[in-house]
């Protein structure tokens, strides 16, 4: 019974994450029509699973360390996060599932009076640096790649072909990073709650569910992230995907699941700042920032309430 519940909640979380975050990997490329939506989905599916299996375990260990969990509490957290995330995804809002999961785990930890603050601080610091780091990396990448491209003697179509290939490559790196970094959000809370199931097997399960989410529900968020904040040209889109992928990959090595959404938004804002602040659409940025706050707070509140009602009755 416990395994079925975990399987169901993982599916909900994975599909929600796929719908939300995988759009970030190819969102700008698809929105600028450099890469077809179908191609983006298939590539993301494959590389998310590979990333999750090869490098997903570290993040799983971090999340499972925030507060002690058993099958009931982990299912509660997963269920609440999944429902909140799924509803916000349907509304086309790019939420951060990483923050929603941690919000839920904090709610659980506070209810149990057991929070590993050291791990939590490490996670929070990494979160703060995600959009900031992606923005800075985006500006640096833009300048370097721009100088490189400026020195190549080529026609407009060769330039476009190069950018398209760059977008495919950076999208693949992004999908790998997404799997490696974010699979913990879908299965991290279940680590150690089921006998004989290793973190790598959990990562495989989470990776497949993320991939299914990408295939089925990622289009609305993909178009919102790709076009909403600032209108990107192909080259800027390539820089956005590359810099956000690198940022997320760096945090995979640290072992902290971060928000790919925030990395992409940070990179897009970085490009916008580089082009001139007037190119940014502040209303869209404000809406996105608000939706980032809504998810973790809602999860914290609902998990605490759920714990009080169903587990600690």
């Amino acid at each position: 019974m416990g395994f079925i519940l975990i399987f169901g909640v993982s599916a909900l979380l994975g599909i929600t994450l796929g719908a939300n975050d995988a759009g970030n990997v190819f969102g700008t490329a698809v929105a600028t029509r450099f890469v077809r939506y179908r191609t983006a989905c298939v590539l993301t599916f494959i590389f998310v699973v590979i990333g999750a299996v090869l490098q997903g375990s570290k993040g799983i260990e971090t999340l499972s360390g925030i507060t002690p969990q058993n099958v009931n509490t982990s299912v509660l957290v997963g269920f609440v996060v999944g429902i909140v995330g799924f509803i916000l995804s349907l509304l086309g809002q790019p939420i951060s599932l990483s923050q929603a999961v941690v919000g839920g785990l904090i709610g659980l930890g506070l209810s149990q009076n057991k929070v590993e603050w050291e791990i939590l601080w490490k996670v929070l610091i990494c979160w703060a640096f995600t959009p900031l780091g992606a923005g800075i990396i985006a500006i640096i990448c833009y300048k370097i790649l721009f100088v490189f491209l400026s020195h190549l003697r080529m026609g407009i179509l060769t330039r476009e072909t190069l950018i398209r290939r760059g977008l495919l490559l950076s999208g693949v790196i992004g999908a790998y990073s997404l799997g490696a970094n974010n699979v913990a959000n879908t299965v991290g809370m279940f680590s150690g709650t089921i006998k004989d199931v290793s973190n790598m097997e959990l990562a495989l399960l989470g990776g497949v569910f993320i991939g299914i989410g990408v295939l089925l529900f990622s289009k609305p968020v993909m178009m919102n992230v790709g076009k909403g904040i600032v209108i990107l040209d192909g080259f800027s889109a390539f820089v956005v995907v590359l810099s956000s992928s690198v940022t997320v990959y760096i945090f995979s090595l640290v072992g902290v699941p971060v928000s790919t959404t925030q990395a992409v938004v940070g990179a897009i804002v970085g490009i916008g700042i580089h082009h001139g602040v007037h190119t940014l659409q502040f209303k869209v940025i404000k809406d996105i920032l608000l939706s980032w706050l809504v998810a973790p707070i809602a999860c914290l509140v609902f998990v605490s309430a759920g714990y009080a009602i169903f587990i600690n009755k």
Binding site: R153, G155, I156, R159, G234
Partner: protein
């Protein structure tokens, strides 16, 4: 796959430019030939060749448009390429229109105007040649097109100046009013070719700058 489609488009654009160039060359041949001739009847054959070259250029343009749209290629450049070809197409169209005007209306250019009309025609020819070179370079070394654009502008300004002088000369002459108007229209029509070339140049400038930011 990407390079195959790219090569196809580049090859067709090149062919399109060649056909347009042929059309302009033949057109100028008719014009310069008519300057010294008493009547332009003998140029009818060349005028029909101008029409054929212009039609073939049109066919090539449609072929390129269809290929790019049908296969959803080059999302960033396709709008620019199609708009560029549409603007460029005005050049052979204008040449054809001018040739038609000369042949059908049997316009005879008076002695005192021959030097100006000859200058306009030869500078226009150079202006269009430069434009064609620029279009070709967009597909090989697009940043270097900027140097050519300055020359296109210079030729166009030169044509404008001669055009103005020529029209003043026409209206200061003792020709019949109807003939004056015919000659003015002809001079304007020839000069319009370089105006179209300048518009193509301006559009290429935007295309390049967009890719340099």
């Amino acid at each position: 796959m990407f390079f195959k489609a790219q090569n196809w488009v580049e090859k067709r654009v090149d062919e399109y430019c060649n056909k347009s160039e042929e059309c302009v060359k033949l057109g100028m041949q008719v014009l310069l030939g008519c300057i010294g001739a008493e009547e332009c009847e003998s140029w009818k054959e060349i005028a029909s060749n101008v029409h054929r070259a212009e039609s073939r250029a049109d066919d090539l343009r449609r072929e390129i448009e269809y290929f790019i749209f049908q296969r959803s290629l080059f999302p960033e450049s396709r709008g620019d390429i199609l708009a560029l070809l549409e603007k460029f197409d005005q050049i052979p169209n204008q040449v054809q229109q001018t040739v038609k005007m000369i042949v059908e209306q049997q316009i005879n250019i008076p002695e005192f105007l021959r030097s100006e009309v000859g200058s306009i025609a030869s500078i226009t020819q150079r202006c269009v040649d430069m434009t064609i070179k620029g279009v070709g370079m967009l597909f090989s070394e697009f940043r270097e097109v900027l140097e050519i654009l300055g020359q296109i502008d210079a030729y166009e300004s030169e044509v404008d100046k001669i055009q103005s002088d020529a029209i003043i000369k026409v209206f200061q002459s003792d020709l019949e009013p109807a003939r004056k108007i015919l000659l003015r229209d002809l001079i304007n029509s020839i000069s319009e070719i370089s105006n179209h070339a300048e518009k193509v140049g301006d559009f290429m400038r935007i295309m390049i700058v967009k890719r340099m930011i």
